[in-house]
């Protein structure tokens, strides 16, 4: 197993928005997900779909920034998404061979076909760049500002990590950009979920440091995945200096709390968070008697590669 860079003596020192969200939601959830690295047997369709979609669009913008035509870049990412959404089988040498099957998403809206459709529709909706519109920003060394991973020191032995899919210039200002997918309608209520938000406030904080330039805020391209169609909305988010400082203050507090819980091996449940976002994946585990949990864990959960924000992508 790879060395876990984000932990030192069992205590997490490399943090990101996912770790923060988990620790803020519930310390018991943090224990299961970040310390034990166990997840339910069924992979979340939303994570899988969102990950493949974001990867495709990130790659699309990378190709475009390298000078590839829109249609060629689109064909390349369609090829990649078709490949990534196939459950491959391998020969003894580890090479992909024919066989396997399309990944079963087990969801009426988020399917392999709607994934490919959404990528193509997104490119036709937002993929065209113009000189007076949104354009990929180029760093001082000339490289396009896409797929920017960062690990910034919060203190002497604490780091905050993240990954900016793309930084764009618009109206003479810089914005980070992110992709979201949802099965819900793209209402103002949907976008209010991102204000406030660890991931995006963290981007605004880190963006200034990574780019060595002021960042006006962020742009969220959201896709509503429905049966038969995909609808898009674009929203702008900005953070004041005071909001960013307040977020930093809360971040330090959360990290201290989670580190203390880890040192004491005491992870109390936050019972008010069990129903959030359609229900916590560990809810059933917490619901049974403590004496039965270990057996329940073994039969209904599996161990995955440890979350390691400090490890470069």
């Amino acid at each position: 197993m790879k060395e876990r860079l984000s932990f030192k003596d069992g205590i997490q020192i490399g943090w990101d928005a996912t770790s923060l969200d988990t620790a803020q939601a519930c310390l018991r959830k943090y224990y299961y997900r970040m310390i034990l690295n166990v997840v339910p047997q069924d992979t979340s369709v939303h994570l899988l779909f969102g990950g493949l979609y974001a990867k495709a669009l990130e790659t699309f913008y990378h190709y475009r920034a390298e000078g590839m035509s829109l249609d060629s870049a689109l064909l390349r990412v369609v090829e990649q998404a078709l490949w990534d959404s196939w459950d491959h089988v391998y020969d003894e040498a580890g090479n992909v061979i024919q066989g396997g099957a399309p990944i079963a998403f087990n969801d009426p809206k988020k399917t392999r076909i709607s994934l490919i459709q959404s990528i193509i529709w997104y490119v036709d909706e937002f993929g065209h760049e113009s000189k007076d519109g949104i354009q990929t920003h180029h760093l001082q060394n000339g490289t396009p500002a896409v797929e920017l991973s960062f690990a910034l020191p919060l203190s002497e032995d604490l780091y905050y990590c993240g990954h900016l899919d793309r930084v764009v210039s618009y109206g003479g200002q810089l914005y980070w950009m992110d992709q979201k997918t949802t099965g819900s309608a793209l209402s103002s209520y949907y976008f209010s979920n991102f204000r406030p938000n660890n991931q995006f406030t963290g981007y605004s904080w880190a963006g200034k440091i990574v780019l060595q330039s002021p960042v006006a805020g962020g742009i969220i391209d959201a896709a509503q995945i429905a049966v038969g169609f995909t609808r898009f909305e674009r929203a702008f988010i900005s953070h004041t200096e005071a909001q960013i400082n307040e977020w930093l203050d809360g971040t330090f507090y959360t990290i201290e709390l989670a580190q203390q819980a880890t040192r004491e091996q005491h992870f109390p449940m936050n019972l008010t968070a069990c129903g959030n976002y359609g229900g916590c994946p560990y809810r059933q585990l917490c619901a049974i008697s403590p004496s039965l949990r270990e057996a329940y864990l073994k039969s209904n959960f599996h161990t995955i590669e440890p979350w390691d924000p400090l490890r470069p992508r």
């Binding site: 459709q117 529709w121 169609f229």
Partner: protein, 59 residues
Amino acid sequence: MNDIARVFSTHPLLHTEDDRKAIVAEFRAKRAVFKSAPTATKAPKAPAAKINLDDLGDL
């Protein structure tokens, strides 16, 4: 190959550039139909959440 359903059920190693072009063309055509459909036949768009604080009275 070029039959969309068949492309989706076939291993990606067997796909050709023409297969991928056919997929892109198919979904672009579908989008054109979706975009040109009268608003009434499209799925309703959720209204923006509007709260009039005066309607809430004293909280």
